[in-house]
Amino acid sequence: MNSTFLDRLLHNWLTLRKPVSRLQAVGLGVACILLCLTGWWLLTLGEYESRIVGPLTLPSPAETFGKFSELWNDFALTRNVLVTLRRVSIGFALALVVGIPIGVTAGCFPRVHAFLSPLIMIGRNVPLAAVLGLMIFIFGSGEKNKVMFIFVASVAFVISDAARAIMDVSARYIDTAYTLGASRWQTISKVLVPLAAPTIFSACRQMFGLAFGYIMLAESIKIADEVGGLGYQIQIFQRRGFREHIYLIILVIPFVALVIDQVLAGIQRQLFPHVYGGDGVLRTLVRVILIPWENLKSLLFHKHLASLPPAATDEGPK
């Protein structure tokens, strides 16, 4: 009797890789948060002396959340979040602008990949603390060193992930494109890049999360006239012994990361409906924006079907 109930419970709740409904998934997540909060509350229950964990180690939930308005108003939480986001966004965008074209080229042409591989190797294994120090030497105090820190820390990963995504596109798509008359450039722009794009996007989305962590490391190094940022704030709280504020920031950061990640996920869904389903609003938008460009090319280069080169005289994709 008892065992059958347990069996059934196990069977229903822990079926291997059985998908969960969205509602249940959110519910389970909320349950986890509530459980942690309860644990926290129990550990810090009562007067300072009678608590299981002392207030110097862990303030109670009430004490912590009580400081929120102070964090929000006196310590300008939103401004600091925005300052941090701005730094990481500029640095990471730079890494994308530089890294993706290089990565795609390396993925398309093994010779380029072989040539660049030492640099990629160094870039991927460079110690972050050393980069940070160097950036401060080179760019001095201020915004530049932080932006460049994010750029240097992530660009090698962007390059190698983009290259890998291109190399992972099956060769049969290249064969197909060639036998349909695509040139090499057309095969790259119409086949390889679009087929690799969802993978590249996912990889970059994950990397952005990492970069968000790196930036706070950069911000916590104080030199001369520092200006704001979450990492800087944490540093100040630490020096002043504001435990509640530090705990609050630890809770705020994942929330900010979650919001950013959800925005990126939304963009991803709308950009790649062939992978994630849906209407692909952004995909349509990109197509519409490209129409004039395409029309211009048609005007300039249109070859008529009848004027196709005779068999085997064309040199094939160059």
């Binding site: 197909t176 036998t179 087929l195 992978v275 070859k303 080169p309 068999a311 085997a312 005289t313 064309d314």
Partner: protein, 312 residues
């Protein structure tokens, strides 16, 4: 397996058919033309051959420890029949080099270039792939990020044909392939069945009106009924586009139904053992493939393959 009918056995015994089409057995629709390797005569003052292989050998990883000769000394000619391409089917055991031959014609690496010999298309050496030799692959190669319409018009887009014009042509071909223009045109490949995907693959090749169409077991993954439908469709469209078709298959029935000519290949290193001429199909695949005459030809080829294999 059922016994081949008596008539087919009779063919087998009067089997010195190698003398040519004149001695075609009345009862069968298959006729042996050549018994193996006859060097082709070069056309004098005639139109060049559509496809010509001259002693073509392909050795993979040549010079390395794992080198492997997939085809050896393959020689054949597909003549340019005025206003009508020929439908050539290639039959042979797995791994005998059928795909190798097809990809040599297409000019695709690593098969291209041949280790030895000449691969000529309309008298000229193959330099690389091109849309004059369209190819339909066995595995699904629809571009996943493009809708059906965008897949079908891919080649036209590469020619920079204006969008309106190419979409119109694309819809026309979607219709011709038996797909629904209103409901299917905007679907992505992952929303299609295997049969529908192959229809898309065929449409995007035929829309470019290639001189030569290369098909590598295009219906291999389809269920028998879909397969018959696709065979009918292919015959109909082929008459319309008038191209020379190279069609690889493992199904003797498919080869006899579709082919004007069937090449039988030996085990590796592959060579073409025999070339058979087949009478054109007169009715639909489903009907045709029950006729005694048809079955006779199928059994005839099956026996032939068995015999060729045991002779090796």
């Amino acid at each position: 397996m059922s016994q081949p009918p008596a008539a087919a056995n009779a063919n087998e015994t009067t089997g010195s058919l190698a003398s040519g089409a004149a001695s075609a057995p009345r009862s069968s629709i298959a006729t042996v033309i050549t018994g193996g390797l006859t060097p082709p005569r070069s056309p004098v003052g005639l139109r060049p051959h559509v496809v010509e292989f001259r002693n073509v050998t392909k050795t993979y990883n040549s010079g390395k420890s794992d080198q492997f000769t997939a085809i050896r000394d393959v020689t054949f000619v597909v003549e340019d029949v005025a206003d009508k391409g020929e439908f050539v089917c290639v039959l042979g055991p797995s791994g005998c080099g059928k795909s190798t031959i097809l990809r040599l014609i297409a000019g695709l690496e690593p098969q291209h270039p041949a280790t030895n010999g000449d691969v000529l298309i309309l008298g000229q050496s193959v330099v690389g792939p091109g849309s004059d030799r369209g190819m339909v692959f066995q595995d699904y190669t629809s571009f996943d990020h493009r809708t059906v319409l965008e897949n079908v018009t891919f080649g036209l887009e590469c020619l920079h044909m204006p969008r309106k014009q190419r979409d119109e042509l694309g819809r026309e071909w979607i219709q011709k392939m038996g797909l629904n223009v209103t409901t299917d045109a905007d679907k992505f490949p992952h929303e299609l069945s295997g049969g529908m995907r192959q229809r898309v693959a065929i449409a995007r090749t035929l829309i470019l009106k290639p001189r030569i169409i290369l098909m590598d077991e295009p219906f291999g993954a389809l269920d028998p009924l879909t397969r018959l439908n696709m065979q009918d469709l292919l015959v109909k469209l082929w008459k319309e586009v008038q191209a020379t078709v190279f069609f690889i298959t493992h199904s003797i029935e498919e080869a006899v139904f579709l082919g004007d000519r069937v090449y039988l290949m030996s085990n590796s290193p592959g060579t073409i053992l025999e070339e058979l001429k087949i009478e054109p199909a007169t009715s639909s695949a489903n009907e045709m493939q029950r006729q005694p005459k048809f079955l006779e030809a199928v059994y005839y080829i099956r026996d032939k393959i068995t015999k060729l294999e045991s002779n090796q």
